[in-house]
Amino acid sequence: MRKLLVLALALFALSVLAAACGGDDDEGAPTTTAAPAGEETTTEAAPDLSGILQEDGVLIVGAEPPAPPFIIPPYPDDPTGFEVDVAREIGARLGIPEVRFIEFVWTNLFSPAPKPFDFDINETTITEERDEVVDFSDPYFEANQAVLVHTGSDAEQATSIADVAGLLLGAQEATTGLVYIRENIKPTQTERVFPTTAAANQALLNQTIDAFIIDLPIAAGLVAENPDELAVVGQFITNEEWGIVFEEGSGLVEHVNRVLQEMKDDGTLTELQEQYLPGTADVPAFE
């Protein structure tokens, strides 16, 4: 009995200590995630965001980790990734001293409950239905359908939808890519339909199919695994655009849209995309 009591006390002491340390961290090192690039990039004076942000001086960003290469753990302490860096850059350009990441389950995004974040960046496709319950920023990424081929094959020479239609295509069941093959490409040979991305990818590596039609970011991940053997030769514009999500009526949208435009104009967005999704920024569009 006494032993148990001692143990409980020890545990209690430990947890207090841990909490105290956590507090220390918050006060001692709040600038780890703070604006690194506020200096030259901001073209105008930082806007007054008091009353707009949930907490003065802090941009609270929601996302559901992990989603590499968009959100790469350790989350929320020190994440990296395309979307993480886009959020940090937006915070820096708006002159907000701290960007704090919180975990927010994606499926709760469109519930009517008040949002605990200033914005959420989580591979969310902009749709009309969603736009009715939340606000979207301008798109920061186009999730088009990529034409993934084996390097050195004839398929690598494809430059149009007509060229692709002559290839033996593969797709994953129940994906946008498969729908696109059937409704738009209409290939001359019956497409091969695989149960998983991995199976279709292996078929392409084996060259039992000529091309694999799949979401561009996924294709980029596959290229990263086998850079010598796989390449994205083109993309089909499907108008699936990702937007940053705000609570309906948020005053922050216009400010974020303004700096997003800056980031597009000065090439920062493209640079970040190239960094995390190599080979996807300048993929030719097939028509």
Binding site: V193, F194, A203, N206
Partner: protein, 277 residues
């Protein structure tokens, strides 16, 4: 003591009585079955999702296109299996110490391919063999890899069926054949195997039906057979009636085979009774 005519009348009445009871119990049974499904709280939802007449008509044609591939696979695989399995069974029964490694090989083969799930064999053969980069093993037709997987696995099953048949032939048959001067090979060829095969026809047909259903697994390699066609239909329309259509095709193909098996079993039993009686 009733006369012959009286006995016939009695038999006739008894038969009518049995028929009446059988019909009655069938009707009651089906009524209970139907009532169970119709009164279920989700009956309407199930009907919409799995038995929608409109979707039945729409999916019937693409699923049939896929089902033709299932039939082709089934026939081609069965042809290979019947031969390969017999070879394995015969090898397993080779006499003499010199053929020990061959016997071991046959045992290892049946142990391995009966133990590994077909779905894994399909993946390993379908995605692994073309990756080897060996020219004569490479084809762009996933049908071939699917066929090979089915043949590999079912040959192991069917080899065991053949072996059971071969071992059921009484040793006196072999002894008699050998004493007539036949070699081991000749006695197998002319005495043992013909009797053994006849004995195992019902279990062979049973495995044939199993094979027919398992052809759907070849869809894993991208072949658009009936199950995958049904899945594609469901992915676009969010309606599962295509699966019901595919199931119906399979059942319609299976029932004649099952009845044939029953008939052969019954015929065999009658023969045995005639011999024994």
């Amino acid at each position: 003591m009733p006369g012959a005519g009286g006995l016939d009348r009695l038999r006739e009445a008894s038969r009518k009585h049995s028929l009446l009871i059988a019909s009655l119990s069938t009707v009651v049974f089906i009524a209970i079955l139907v009532a169970f499904f119709v009164t279920a709280p989700g009956a309407g939802r199930v009907q919409d999702a799995f038995f929608s007449p409109g979707d039945f008509a729409d999916s019937a044609s693409p699923v049939w296109d896929g089902f033709v591939i299932n039939i082709e696979l089934m026939l081609a695989a069965e042809a290979i299996v019947l031969v390969l399995a017999l070879v394995i069974a015969v090898v397993r029964n080779l006499p003499g110490p010199a053929s020990f490694p061959l016997r071991m090989l046959a045992i290892a083969y049946t142990d391995f391919f009966r133990g590994v799930p077909l779905i894994l064999v399909v993946f390993i053969v379908g995605l692994g063999v073309p990756a080897l980069g060996i020219g004569w093993l490479y084809t762009r037709n996933p049908f071939i890899y699917g066929l090979a997987s089915l043949a590999l696995v079912y040959s192991a099953y069917v080899a065991e069926v053949y072996r059971a048949g071969i071992e059921s032939i009484h040793t006196s048959q072999v002894a008699a054949a050998r004493s007539l001067g036949l070699t081991h090979g000749q006695s197998m060829r002319f005495v043992v195997v013909p009797q053994a095969v006849r004995r195992v026809i019902p279990p062979l047909l049973n495995d044939f039906i199993g094979l027919q259903k398992d052809t759907a697994l070849v869809s894993l390699l991208g072949v658009l057979e009936s199950a995958r066609q049904a899945q594609s239909y469901a992915a676009v329309t969010f309606n599962f009636t295509g699966y019901t259509v595919a199931a119906l095709y399979f059942v319609l193909l299976t029932i004649p085979l099952a009845r044939l098996t029953d008939y052969l079993v019954e015929r065999d039993r009658r023969k045995m009774r005639a011999l024994g009686g």
